[in-house]
């Protein structure tokens, strides 16, 4: 059997190379996020946001932008026979789950690298909360990647893929979004960041990541069966 580390690196490198070459997911995700910020800026008629409103605008935008990437995560595998190629190889199939989830974390991190500074320029008077926000972004990305990879792999063989992913993923991501917005709210409050219940929300995010990471590890092999 091929070592899992080798197979993981091969699949992840293949996905990132394909994305860099074709730019099928990231530009769409970033454009969606920036457009949504513009709509919020003019729709709310506010030049600055803070607390729960800022947190809500940020996470609603990032969640829906993430859906665009999640929808396309397994498209090359389905349309180009990659599922068969990977199923024929002497590898632990959960490596595919880990590699796809990692690719999604990279996409989300790249998305946030571009859009969070734009969010700060559009809406924040004080950028001091952005430092600790990195931990929230990272933990939320891990949770979104675990659930997104799981749901995307289930939906990819369905003709209603574009409908199925949000239909299943959005309800599943509610606990994640509650914790993410809860952790973000005090960081973006007026007068600078506070850390009220910040640690508790981070633990909730970590627990969500752990649960869905383990669920993905446990069921992914069965999802690949024809």
């Amino acid at each position: 059997m091929t070592p899992s580390r080798t197979a993981f690196a091969a699949i992840l490198a293949k996905d990132l190379r394909s994305e860099l070459r074709t730019l099928q997911s990231l530009p769409a995700m970033a454009l969606f996020a920036v457009t949504t910020f513009v709509v919020f800026r003019f729709g709310l008629d506010r030049t600055s946001l803070s607390g729960s409103l800022a947190s809500g605008v940020l996470w609603a935008t990032l969640l829906f932008a993430a859906l665009l990437g999640i929808n396309r995560l397994f498209v090359s595998e389905r349309e180009e026979g990659g599922f068969d190629a990977i199923r024929l190889a002497p590898i632990d199939r959960t490596v595919l789950f880990a590699a796809k989830a990692s690719a999604l974390v990279v996409y989300l991190a790249a998305l946030e690298l571009v859009t969070v500074p734009i969010f700060a320029i559009f809406f924040l008077e004080d950028a001091a909360g952005l430092g600790p926000l990195v931990a929230v972004l990272l933990l939320t990305d891990l949770g979104l990647a675990a659930t997104g990879t799981l749901i995307s792999s289930m939906a990819v063989n369905s003709r209603a893929r574009d409908l199925l992913v949000p239909l299943v993923l959005l309800p599943l991501s509610i606990p994640l979004m509650i914790a993410a917005t809860g952790a973000t709210e005090p960081l973006l409050s007026l007068g600078g960041p506070s850390y009220d219940r910040f640690g508790t929300w981070l633990m909730v995010l970590g627990l969500y990541d752990l649960i869905f990471g383990l669920v993905g590890y446990a069921v992914f092999d069965f999802l690949l069966e024809d």
Partner: protein, 222 residues
């Protein structure tokens, strides 16, 4: 039968194989046995279950009933032991369109755990063998169907499989491509082969056994 061969057993042994898609049986009661190093040609009209049989042998589909053993591994329970010992050439080339032919082969080599130096040498050798060394760095999306098939044949034998499962291996190939492919996946390559084809004249002559599948009829081995 010589004792060594008897000990090795058949490369493929199938008894009462059934596969249903919902209520519709795609395969019903297939029996066959193929000795190591032999070639089996599978014939039949569209919808007779030829591709289904090949995908079951490749561990890509679970049988609905019957006993299947490939290279001494019972399917589906021991499928994990079998992967890596099979070369599968399906209807789809199993190549990523946004990668070049060479990148696709490198990806395959890494999945099969071939060490980097050995993989590069093997990839060069195979690209020459299928006549694709000059176009190997072009994206697969830019290649013709015949060129994709050549790269796909190289992918199929990259890891030196013991058993070749070939679904219409000549499709999209020109005369030169067919000759080049023959050296890699033909009977002279010395591997056990199962070939699904609509071109019996070409392949039947090379076959040790022929399996005829019919729609709603019992499979016949000759």
């Amino acid at each position: 039968m010589p004792p060594a061969q008897e000990k090795a057993g058949p490369a493929i042994s199938v008894a009462g194989l059934r596969r249903d898609y919902g209520d519709r049986p795609a395969l019903d009661g297939v029996d066959l046995e193929l000795a190591p190093g032999n070639s089996l040609v599978v014939l039949g009209p569209n919808g007779a279950g030829k591709t289904t049989l090949l995908r079951i042998l490749a561990t890509l589909l679970r049988p609905s009933g019957g006993d299947v053993s490939v290279l001494g591994c019972s399917l589906p329970d021991e499928a994990w032991k079998l992967r890596g010992r099979i070369g599968y050439l399906g209807h789809e080339p199993l190549l990523y369109r946004d990668l070049s032919g060479r990148e696709n082969l490198r990806f395959g080599a890494r999945l099969y755990g071939i060490e980097r130096g050995a993989a590069e040498a093997r990839i060069e050798e195979l690209l020459r063998a299928v006549g694709m060394e000059r176009r190997a760095d072009e994206r697969v999306a830019e290649l013709s169907a015949g060129m994709r098939q050549r790269i796909s044949i190289a992918r199929c034998v990259l890891h030196e499989p013991e058993l070749l499962l070939l679904d219409e291996p000549d499709s999209n190939l020109d005369a030169e491509g067919r000759e080049l492919a023959r050296a890699l996946i033909g009977p002279a390559a010395g591997r056990t082969r199962v070939v699904v084809t609509h071109d019996p004249e070409r392949h039947e002559a090379e076959a040790d056994q022929v399996l005829r599948l019919g729609i709603g009829e019992r499979a016949v081995v000759s």
